[in-house]
Every structure is written in structure tokens, then in C-alpha cells.
């Protein structure tokens, strides 16, 4: 049984969907951020796999940059969470609805 690119793409899609579910489901902002990491990681697998199957390095480069981006996002995201938490003492996004309409 040979593992083809399709396998990886399917895996990636499934993981992405798990990430989506997490994003939609989480009310704890920190844990919501976890889910966004899953989204990016899911993509990374696919990039690496495509790169592998077509023998091209661009995919790996993309994945590399995605990792960098993910790391940066964490920094800013945590920063935002911290000020928010300091101001309100909560990181529950249901508490965050002073603007609407």
C-alpha cells in the first residue's frame, strides 16, 4: 500500500477541520489560539508532502515561513490577551461584547 499525496492532503484537511471546530467552539481565548495553531500545522503537513512528491523545495519554504508566522502570532496574541486580562480579569470571549449591532 503506497502512501500518496492524496493521503497527506486528506490528513491535512481533517486536521484543518479539527482546527476549524476548535476555533468555532472555544470560548477560552487562549485555547482558541491553540486551534489556530492547528490550522497552520495542518497546512504545513500538506506543504511538506507536496514538496516531497513533486520534488520541489518551495513547499518546505512556505512551511518554514508559516512556522515563523505562527510564532509571531503567538507573541502578539499573548500580548493582547495579557492587556485584556489585566484590564478585565477574564479571557472568556463571551464577556467581550461591548460593541455590537
Amino acid at each position: 500500500m503506497e502512501i500518496t499525496l492524496t493521503h497527506y492532503l486528506v490528513l491535512s484537511s481533517v486536521l484543518f477541520a479539527i482546527g476549524l471546530i476548535g476555533v468555532m467552539r472555544r470560548k477560552n481565548l487562549l485555547m482558541l489560539f491553540f486551534a489556530t495553531e492547528i490550522l497552520l500545522n495542518a497546512t504545513n503537513i500538506a506543504f511538506a508532502a507536496i514538496s516531497h512528491y513533486i520534488g520541489d523545495l518551495s513547499g518546505q519554504m512556505f512551511a518554514f515561513f508559516i512556522i515563523a508566522i505562527a510564532a509571531s502570532e503567538v507573541a502578539i496574541g499573548l500580548g493582547l490577551l495579557i492587556v485584556w486580562y489585566k484590564r478585565t480579569g477574564k479571557i472568556d470571549l463571551d464577556q467581550m461584547n461591548s460593541m455590537r449591532g
Partner: protein, 192 residues
């Protein structure tokens, strides 16, 4: 055969781990599961011959990102159970599953193309890390540098946001109050 076994094994593991991350009530479980999932993903990278990426994955995610999150968790004191109010959970799953199903439906068809050519072919003669290095510092030099800027931005952003100066908001203070505040603020700002 080995490849297949490895793929399925790690596929199941990552899926399980990430599912735990998404579904658990315990923040600690979540972060642990995610860290594990990240490591399992790096296994894919190794399988696929992207050694450098695998290494980076472990270093950056499990090293840096997880550390940050762990720090965050400590800061927010989320080790205790966070009661999350669930609303319309069905919709969440329906949407998620639908997305997966539809994408998969498309993906099961193999890609048919004779025109894909590798612009930066994997050269078996040189190692993955070396090859990456060459591409990174030629073709992708500009994105690489920009990524550096991005990290700088993230750093500044993180520092500024988490910094003490944010505790008092000039935006909300009356002008007169700011006048008296100014000296102390400036002395602090000059301090670092």
C-alpha cells in the same frame, strides 16, 4: 510498507492529539496534547525528507511556542477548569465536518497535471538542510528578511502590550491628570 504504517500511525496520533486539544475541558490537557501533536507532525516531516523543517518544528513549536503558551497559562491561571458556555454546538460540528467532507471530496481525485515542474528541485546529492539554505538565502532572502522584521514587530508588540506603561491609560485620563503623571511616566520610560 514501513512508510504506510508510519503514516497511519502518526496520522491517527496527530488526529487524536488535536482532537483532545480541541475538545478537552482541561487547559493543561489541551496544551499537552497540542505539544504532542506538534511533535508527531514533525515525524511527518522526517518521513517526507524535510529534516530541517522537522527540526524547526520541534524547536519552534515545542520549544518556543509551547513555552509561551505555558507562560500564558500560568499568567491567566487557566489550569483550573474554565467553564465555557457552549452555544449551538451542532452548528460548529456541522460546519467543521462539512468543510472537511467537501475538501476531502475534492482531494480524493488525484491531481492530473503534466506541467508541474519543480523550480527548486530536491537534489539528492545535497542534504535537505543545505538545499534549504541555498534556496532560503537566494530566492527567499527577501521573505526571510521580512520574516525577521515580522518577528521584530511581534517582539516589540508583545513587549509594548505586556509592558507596565499600559496599566494607566492616557486615553481615558483627563488632561489635567496627565500633566501630573507626565514626569513619573517619562522617568520610567527613560529608565530602560
Amino acid at each position: 510498507m514501513f512508510e504506510a504504517i508510519a503514516f497511519y500511525l502518526f496520522a491517527v496520533l496527530t488526529i487524536v492529539m488535536f482532537t483532545i486539544t480541541v475538545m478537552t475541558q482541561q487547559a493543561l490537557y489541551a496544551i499537552t496534547a497540542m505539544a504532542a501533536g506538534m511533535i508527531f507532525i514533525s515525524a511527518f516531516f522526517f518521513i517526507l525528507g524535510a529534516d530541517f523543517l522537522g527540526a524547526i518544528q520541534i524547536i519552534v513549536y515545542t520549544g518556543a511556542v509551547m513555552a509561551l503558551y505555558a507562560f500564558g497559562m500560568m499568567f491567566f491561571d487557566t489550569t483550573r477548569n474554565v467553564v465555557e458556555k457552549r452555544t449551538n454546538t451542532q452548528i460548529v460540528f456541522v460546519l467543521g465536518v462539512l468543510a472537511a467532507v467537501m475538501v476531502v471530496a475534492i482531494f480524493v481525485a488525484p491531481i492530473a497535471s503534466n506541467n508541474i515542474e519543480a523550480l527548486y528541485p530536491v537534489d539528492a546529492a545535497i542534504g535537505n538542510t543545505q538545499a534549504i539554505g541555498i534556496v532560503l538565502f537566494t530566492k527567499y532572502l527577501v521573505p526571510f528578511e521580512l520574516a525577521a522584521v515580522m518577528l521584530l514587530v511581534a517582539m516589540i508588540g508583545g513587549i509594548v502590550l505586556a509592558g507596565k506603561k499600559m496599566d494607566k491609560s492616557l486615553t481615558l485620563m483627563a488632561e489635567e491628570d496627565i500633566g501630573s503623571m507626565d514626569d513619573s511616566l517619562e522617568s520610567k520610560a527613560g529608565g530602560h
